[in-house]
Amino acid sequence: MNPLLDQFISEARDFQQSIGEKLMQLESEPGSRALIGELFRMVHTLKGNSGLFEFPEMTGVLHAGEDVLDAVRDGRVPYGRALADLLLEAMDFVLLLLDEIEGVGSIGVEHVASSARLARNLRSLLPAGADEAGNPVDSGAAASVGAPELPLASMPEERRMEWYRAALSGDALSWVEYAPDAECFFKGEDPLYQVGQVPGVVWRDVSARKPWPELAELDAYHCQLVFRLLSTAEPAALHELFRYMPHETRIIAISPLALLVPVGDPDGGAVYEDFVADAIALLDNGDLAGLERTTRCMLEFSAPKLWLASALRWLLLILELEPGNSLVLRALIESLRTLTTPCWGDVAAGRRAAGGDGGQSTADGAALAEILAAQREILALQDDVAWRGGRLKAVAATLAACCPRMGGDRRHDALEHALEQSLAENKAAPLLGWLDEYGPALLAGFTPAATVDARSSMPEPVGAALAPDMPTRVEGPEGLRLGRRSDDVPGTAKTLKVDQTKIDRLMNLIGEMVVAKNSLPYLAARAESQYGVRDLAREIKTQYAVVNRIAEEMQDAIMQVRMMPVSFIFQRFPRLVRDTSRKLGKEVNLVLEGEATEVDKNIVEALADPMIHIVRNSLDHGIELPALRLAAGKPAEGKLTIRASQAADRVLIEIIDDGKGIDPQHIKKKAYEKGVIDEATLERITDQEAVNLIFAAGFSTVETVSDLSGRGVGMDVVRNAMEKVGGTVSIESEKGKGTLLRLSLPLSMAVSNVMIVESDQQIFGVPMDMVVETVRVPRAAIRHIKQHQTTVLRGSIVPLLSLNALLAINQEQRPNEDDEFAALVIRHQGENIGIVVDDFRETVDIILKPLVGILGGLAGYSGSALLGDGTVLMVLNPRELT
């Protein structure tokens, strides 16, 4: 999963939760405009974010929610319970989708229908006419979902018989009606291509939404087409294909019986009463062979165009394919009396009630029992919560949805009555009463005993026969899952937001742990030297190794927590560069690289200001005006690259521009004029050294002070800031080609490796990353040049400074027995310097604490640390000393 999606999910969860909270707050203070405004903003943001990804289902629902909230904000729609319920349901749906995205990375196609329904429900709250987005097809689809009138009868009988055969052998058959938006051509859609993608098309038709106008008035780019097709593809595949246009598409699963429509001339002359009576008798006796004979006979006597002949042909087909389906056969024969198509809805329901498919019926029964039990449980909840009314309504809706399975208006009326009563009394008792009274009857409906009664009172015209895909889906188990309030599900948040102080405390604790751990070797040494128990000493050392390993891992883990990607600072640069370059009239292309590089939070924070400074400098001094660039043979658009990368335990940040570079001669002259260097230096320094002069304090080359840079507080500030966090800054520049600034920083500053040195019977720490080498210099090898001591190391002169002198300790450094001085060679601003100390000790890992309070103003020290034996170690900062 990509990091953007990760971030989206974690943010969306936050939004989802706070939207839920705001909705709850609104229940108690419905008039609050501030809350509504906040709610709108959150839904709006969430919608916008979801639009970045391909989650049309989520975006669709949120868009509808946004529209409704916008209307509420403008006072066009009053805020009410119903609205809150719908919004909460929508949020639950969003959560469901989020879970799915997190689990499998995408949204399943089965949510298309729920999404469309939720969006429609939300939009239905908008005042009429306010919904500009809703096109005529949308409302049309909504209205006709209940009773889809499909022009199946107008299709050729042979084709329908073919499909019927296919359907019985297990093929699905779906009706797709796709009426693209009138403006769809402008959105780059090609509806013909879209329908061309539909697999298993067995019948197709294209028509116009309204009669075609005169050719002269035709607008070629105003889409009027309506595509209709029958496909044997799985409904899921069709939903997937049309998931981006749920409002423009109607996908309906067609049951085979819907195909069974005899057509023809009903004027057959005589009524076929005799044949019907014979056929029914044969059917009752189970003489199917006889029935087939009689039917064939009758068919031969009838003109093929007659309705009768058509019905007989169907009869023969059914006899051939499903001779056991007596219900359908009977209905078909009886229809000959009236010469009208039988109502297959009744027949299908009858078949189910009769237990035609025993297995399924039992399964349905079990599901129904489960649903009823769940409702009973909900009603039995004793808590007195604000949304109790909504809950009662939800239960009633579920029960009502269960009812049509068994029919009976009486039950419906009773249910509504019970709901009203429940709401009025704010008690669950009336609904429970209804459940007690009718629940068993509902379940009993699934036993064969109820057959007769069920068949006669079946008010289910379309539900079974032409089961429209959408409603069944929604009211089925899917709907039930949706109905859950989010607080029923245990939270599955995987990211924690932790206050930084808590992490800092962890850091401190691990620091103390490292110090405590470091005392074990001292203990081991004492055990051996003082008490003479060598075995114990060895055991302590073994234990120390274990503790050491765990402590290091722990430290590493905590360090990881503090790591942040540098994109945190990089993200502000596009805007900064755009604004600045606009102001300067320059054209700059910013390239960011390695934004995912992670460094310690403190380092990231320390980086921000210096980097802004450098970038501004590059824009102001580095990149030239477009005209100058063109004259120099460079593209008018300058290129500024900011690159972060990791090298061992350091992070490198390079800021590269392809501007005019730095002219060393110019720098030298300026530096001399400003008194930064003297005449002798002016003659002596190399070009690179001259370029480095820009880091000198109080140096600025620009004649006029702009509001961007040129005040002379420039690169020296950058360098100091870098050094404060243990970083370095270097510059490479070529005149006319560009400049490269390289910042090098430690990945983390938590643990420092220092070398302990001794001087005047005190110990001091020196950061290891500054130490080049340690040497013993014989007294004879030290020469005096004027007041300074120097020595020659591997052919180069190294100045020697005494630590005691640097710290103003009035003592000579002590040589060892061989009259050699201990010199610590450190690297300072590109030069090696030897610091003479009394003796070297070991190196240790310490947690460096900066000096605070009065000591904070003390130059020469970068901080202090506790050693394992409890002594305080002052860590020197040689840069400030020398």
Partner: protein
């Protein structure tokens, strides 16, 4: 060019895009008894289909592409 106008016939070739619908419509408006040759057509943008459906020109030759043929015949051949 995916569309080629001759005196009385328009030839649609290859993949006919959305921009061609305008040209096709103009030509059909100017040439009331124009005929269409779709032999070499592999795909037709729906806007073109719409124009053809509204104008109902005589189709001299149907496309060879089976999928396109199925859609075109069902939309242009029925009454």
């Amino acid at each position: 060019m995916a569309i080629e106008f001759q005196e009385k016939t328009v030839l649609l070739k290859g993949c006919v895009g959305v921009e061609e619908a305008e040209l096709l419509l103009e030509w059909l408006q100017k040439t009331p008894c124009g005929q269409v040759d779709l032999t070499a057509c592999t795909h037709l943008h729906a806007a073109n289909l719409q124009v053809l459906m509204a104008a109902r020109p005589t189709v001299l030759a149907w496309p060879k592409e089976a999928a396109l043929l199925a859609w075109l015949t069902s939309s242009l051949q029925s009454t």
